[in-house]
Symmetry: C2
Subunit: 193 residues, 2 copies
Amino acid sequence: MYDAILKYVARYIELTPAEIEIFTSLLTPRKVRKRQYLVQSGDICKAENFVVNGCLRSFYVDEKGEEYISQFAIEDWWITDLNSFLTQTPANYYVEALENSDVLQISYEAYHELLTRIPKFDRFFRIIIQKAYVATQQRIISTMSKTSEERYLEFVDRYPNIEQRVPQYMVAAYLGFTPEFLSKIRSRRNKLS
Amino acid sequence: MYDAILKYVARYIELTPAEIEIFTSLLTPRKVRKRQYLVQSGDICKAENFVVNGCLRSFYVDEKGEEYISQFAIEDWWITDLNSFLTQTPANYYVEALENSDVLQISYEAYHELLTRIPKFDRFFRIIIQKAYVATQQRIISTMSKTSEERYLEFVDRYPNIEQRVPQYMVAAYLGFTPEFLSKIRSRRNKLS
DNA sequence: CGTCTATTTGAATGTACTCAAAAGCGGTGG
DNA sequence: CCACCGCTTTTGAGTACATTCAAATAGACG
């Protein structure tokens, strides 16, 4: 159960056996079933979730009930409503399992205990957040500078494993256009090839 | 010169006098004049920049020469091409002063020396990147879920101090539409009020 | 005052959306 | 194991929001 996360952590920091013991003791394994929610808008988000296997999404719902996907998470990714988790204020996002999944949860309290007891984890989280931040910046620029079709191709190319695991209307909700339009993009491409 | 940054750092971590000495010794004050570049696409970005006073922007230029602004930075903000800085690979962005500005630079080497000598800074940078990441996520969702007019109003409302300091066509390049369209949004609003 | 840049305005165009209906696909129960 | 039901995807017509291009106006700076 902990293999994946330990391997992942080892990419950034080295832990002693004692530290591994502390770390894993602060994690809670949890199974979530397809369509189950880990966070609901309005909740105070209690945990960060590391995906051991499965697939989840986080999304925002506007006043009209429209859904906008901010993130997909598969194996070795983290997912939560980060703002809600960090500030312990009500969430603006939902986090939902798209497949039966196994996650490792670290609660707000455990997270701070971890940082206090093993300050190296400040470094670890700094590095992974930096990466996430850079990726998000690129997503913004890509949205502005590329056509919808280009962004779709970029997505397929970059996350082929996700594209096959989630319905098309969710890919559209991630890329910021309608499912109908995505269908048109795809049929246009099929005719050409 | 260092007052602003020390006050800023003190919001997140406490430093001893000796640590303050180390920290400030790793910073290099630099004056940049309006229109001067701190980073150019293709450069290896050598420093993170903390803005003491003035205003800068970072932007991407596509093949057609179109500019897309990823960030404005005023007093108490950081600006750089973060990916280039962290990985020491060629930059994809430009960083340019929009006003005569004073910045404090921390070089790649100084940054790592700082983290080694005062590991508390891992915590500091973790926290500020987390905030930046959350803001960026919100920007993505806002782009998808709101109309251009709503996003413009949100921007003016949230960054009134920036709106008055940069030309409109740059506000448009930040929000992701054309300057002509921004002008139309504004004139429409003036007629109504 | 004159020049260069930024903003405004308008007309024509295009990209993506809405709405509606048909087709396809997958899971569930008989 | 097949048939049916519900959800997802496709297709098409009409529309809306934002762009492009061009020209006029306004502002800033030397």
